[in-house]
Symmetry: C2
Subunit: 149 residues, 2 copies
């Protein structure tokens, strides 16, 4: 019941982009350095986010990435679902997917999994990157350097 590094690194990277929203594109090299993540690995993660339309890339020298939308239009759930897949504790309660298990209608444990799924989704869908930026500013105030992660 753990998240993978994809979800963790990816959300951190998106927060990094959110903190730099409105400025020049951010090179992945810089994100990787600030956050202590392997750059080529992060490259793979952000490729998924780009294909999902959450970030835009600018190629070539002085290029980098920017959020495709303002931080208040992107939720943690948007990011996590791209990186982790459907946020369901078991396959039989993945949203918008037909249930293959023939016992589903009589299954009591399935009801538990649905409740867990819903509670997770309620959390991640109610928090935007802007909320995280605000929290970042509240916690780290006028400090001279950036604590990200």
């Amino acid at each position: 019941m753990k998240l993978s590094t994809k979800g963790r690194y990816g959300l951190t990277a998106m927060l990094d982009l959110a903190l730099n929203y409105g400025e020049e594109p951010v090179a992945l090299k810089n994100v990787a350095e600030r956050q202590g993540i392997s750059e080529p690995y992060l490259e793979q993660l952000i490729a998924g986010l780009r294909k999902a339309g959450l970030v835009k890339s600018v190629r070539g020298a002085q290029g980098g990435y920017i959020l495709a939308y303002p931080p208040d239009k992107i939720t943690v759930g948007d990011v996590m679902r791209v990186l982790e897949g459907p946020l369901a504790p078991v396959d039989c309660v993945i949203e918008n997917e037909p249930v293959s298990c023939e016992k589903a209608d009589h299954c009591v444990t399935r009801i538990i999994w649905e409740k867990i799924r819903d509670s997770i989704n309620q959390v991640v869908d109610s928090i935007t990157l802007q909320d995280m930026v605000d929290e970042y500013n509240r916690i780290n105030g006028q400090k001279g350097y950036m604590y990200y992660i």
Copy 2:
């Protein structure tokens, strides 16, 4: 972000015991057959539950397992934590465990993980095996045979 078969099979097995609470001990062989789980594998799972004090065993012929407490005294969370470990999406928010990450005080993503952790725990700690038994009876009513899982 998926549960393992330990959590899934284990909760199903505990529901099986709860449905038989107050009667003779239930042999693992029967649980395994009803639920379609490999018996020796289930044996390992229930060993953990026994060591955690959630079930009692009766050895020898006609032996088996019984819940150590009435079904309304055992929560889904009790069971899941034994089988899956702490229900935290990342290690840095495991309850009652010192945080090793030195950035924790300045970490914004960590707040997200805490909220996810809390929402999961709120769900599983508020549902008892008795709740599941009641739901089972509501769904399956007077049917002739048992749909478990």
